[in-house]
Amino acid sequence: MDRKIKVVMAKLGLDIHWRGVYLVSQFMKEAGMDVVYLGNKFPTEIVEAAIEEDADVVGLSSLSGNHLALGPIVVDMLREKGLDRVKVFMGGVMPPDHAKRLEKEYGVQKVFLPDTPMQEIIDGINAAVGNTH
């Protein structure tokens, strides 16, 4: 059946850098995904949107240092609401060891650091979501 991957994309909190998340969103669209772009939102609103949109994936962009503070909150809130199946991806500027911690300790599926080719992001999502479909 017609089964496209649905992604909810958000800029975390006050972060202002919109072009990266927009670029990635466009690539996802071109890769055949349905992308719901939220703009700047905080964890409660992001999780609420993920529920209402029946998202497979939540993508968070953070380039201003709030990744460790807000990223894990999104993951936890999704779990609390019973949405374990929703994969959380993050992208942006952060120290590599923070990225590792987000993946290992906080349940973020994958963090894409700068210089990641677009196709790698698309493949990463396809692989992660494909498993649960």
């Binding site: 202002i16 670029l23 700047n40 905080f42 240092g65 503070a69 952060m94 120290p95 700068p114």
Partner: protein, 573 residues
């Protein structure tokens, strides 16, 4: 407004005689056909600068045959200021070394600022954390996770006071890197209030604030954004008030930098910056000011990217374009109104996370281009840009890079050393024309505010980014260690990051104390007057300053603006 090559009846005296040029053209053809192999000739037409100007294999006087030294280039410090704004340039005064300072609580920053000043920095850049940039208090729920990260947290006059503890505001030149016009109405005001309190007259206070509505409406997505027309009005309010009251302070820095970082080329960067200056000038003239009253206080802020010669040409061209705009369009009388002074920061967007030490080389080359382009002040990005605000070690390397350029390379000994290079002059001429064309395009859309409201500028940014990304992904644009000469060892080096987790609690406690100690009636009164004035055409600056003096917080004032002016989202989707 179109750029005309010859602007008079008189025949310009060109660099090379017609006969000489004819000879060169003939011989060039000969050289091209006979000295080059077929495969070399095939490469012609395939090289471009970053902004798309075709690049030939070799340049000769024939490529600048119409250029007149007196008319088009001129002497340093003379019209059209192509070669620089001062006759003696760096012999007279070296470019100001501005390095970033701002992390954590204001008290932490004070330490960093003193450290840099002790090591020979001559100016201070204050960067703010995201809540401060976007106009929230440290204890607002929106600020969560961002307090003190990537910049300083400033909530009230108290913080500004702490930031500049033991620093004489009458001697230091401070660049207050506010982004939004709405916060430029408030934060520099805090700086002025501190100066007042310390008895430093505003006439001695020097510095710059950024104050650019493009920053609010195009560069940043923002959680909550004021509408472009409102943001533009605030921008002009600040310029007007500061020009009239703080004569040594530059009330606006037209920010090509962040626009370029967000995604435009060198031409658009300068053209949009100057278009904003044009729009601002027109508004202030409408308000009854004379061009010469404010133009000398306008400054610009460029991004120096990787394309070495194009960036140098950009710097030179931008001065000439501004000169022509000031003189021909606004009839400037004062020579200072026609001088474009600009600050440069090297391009953070060019600094990958992979093999970060390579970024020292990139930034040094970009910084060198800035100096060859004749900048007035310079910030060199730190090699750890792709991870966080710089560590102390990285910040010191940047400072040292500046000093090496200043003293060891000899490039500051003579003015505009690349003048007369066929290639550089050709590029400069091309840039001038292309910048004027782009300015005309914006005017055709009804001016810059319109171009923003309609989403045109956002679409420009997106389409640029798509092309840029494509070039990187298909290898047309090479980034060493990232998509070129990549080895298995091309790794991201472990980098230690400054963290100030306690900033939040410190700021929170300070705000609590502030709310207890300040006179609530005074705050409320000041805020209610400001609220009223929002709906008049009066300049908001004095009312903001009054609120700040009475210890109103940044967050309170910004919330008031959001309530009174409503919010805007850009029409991209």
């Amino acid at each position: 407004m179109a750029y005309r090559k010859d602007d008079g009846n008189k025949e310009p005296v060109c660099l090379f005689s017609e006969e000489h040029v004819r000879l060169i053209k003939d011989q060039y053809k000969d050289w091209f056909d006979k000295s080059l192999r077929e495969e070399d000739r095939q490469t012609e037409g395939k090289y471009f600068t970053h902004s798309g100007i075709p690049v030939k294999l070799a340049y000769t006087p024939a490529d600048i045959e119409n250029v007149s030294y007196i008319e088009d280039i001129g002497f340093p410090g003379h019209a059209p200021y192509l070669r620089g704004v001062y006759p003696n340039m760096y012999r007279g005064r070296l470019f100001t070394v501005r390095q970033l300072a701002g992390l954590g609580a204001p008290e932490d920053c004070n330490e960093r600022v003193c450290y840099l000043l002790d090591h020979g920095a001559t100016g201070v850049n204050i960067l703010f954390d995201m809540p401060t940039i976007r106009g929230y208090n440290s204890d607002d729920p929106e600020a969560e996770g961002n307090v003190g990260a990537c910049g300083a947290a400033v909530d009230s006059v108290w913080d500004m006071d702490a930031f500049f503890k033991d620093i004489d505001l009458g001697t230091v030149s401070t660049s207050i890197v506010t982004h939004l016009p709405s916060t430029s109405l408030v934060i520099p005001g805090m700086y002025f209030a501190v100066a007042e309190k310390r008895g430093t007259p505003l006439s001695k206070v020097a510095g710059t604030c950024q104050n650019d509505f493009i920053m609010e409406t195009c560069v940043g997505s923002g959680y909550e954004i004021l509408p472009p027309s409102v943001s533009f009005r605030m921008q002009c309010d600040t310029v007007e008030w500061i020009c009239k009251n703080v004569p040594r302070f530059n009330p606006i820095s037209f920010n090509g930098y962040n626009l370029r970082e967000a995604g435009t080329d060198a031409v658009a960067e300068v053209a949009i910056g100057i278009s904003n200056a044009i729009a601002t000038a027109e508004e202030l003239i409408k308000r009854g000011m004379k061009f010469d009253d404010f133009a000398p206080r306008m400054s610009f802020f460029w991004d120096l990217h990787n394309d070495f010669f194009e960036e140098i040409a950009k710097c030179r061209a931008s001065r000439k374009v501004w000169y022509k705009v000031a003189k021909e369009r606004f009839g400037a009388q004062n020579a200072k109104s026609m001088l474009m002074r600009f600050h440069v920061q090297t391009a953070g967007v060019t600094l990958p996370a992979t093999e970060p030490l390579n970024n020292i080389a990139r930034s040094a080359i970009q910084g060198l281009a800035a100096v060859l382009g004749g900048c007035q002040s310079l910030h060199i990005d730190s090699f750890d840009e792709a991870y966080s605000a710089p560590t102390e070690e990285a910040a010191l390397v940047s400072l040292r890079t500046q000093q090496i350029i200043q003293t060891e390379t000899g490039v500051c000994s003579t003015v505009d050393p690349l003048a007369g290079s066929y290639y550089v002059e050709y590029l400069t001429d091309q840039m001038v024309q292309r910048i004027f064309d782009y300015i005309s395009k914006i005017e055709g859309l009804g001016g810059l505010v319109q171009a923003v409201e309609s989403g045109w500028l956002h679409r420009e940014i997106v389409s640029y980014n798509n092309k840029y990304q494509e070039k990187i992904e298909n290898g047309q644009m090479k980034i060493v260690g990232v998509n070129y000469m990549k080895t298995d060892n091309s790794k991201t080096a472990p980098i230690q990051v400054f963290e100030y987790p306690e900033t939040y609690s410190r700021q929170k406690a300070k705000l609590e104390r502030l709310r207890k100690e300040r006179n609530d009636r005074n705050v409320e009164e000041a805020l209610s007057i400001l609220r009223q004035k929002c709906h008049t055409t009066e300049n908001l600056y004095p009312y903001c300053l009054d609120a700040v003096r009475n210890l109103a917080t940044l967050g309170e004032i910004e919330e008031l603006f959001r309530e009174e002016f409503g919010l805007w989202s850009f029409p991209l989707l």
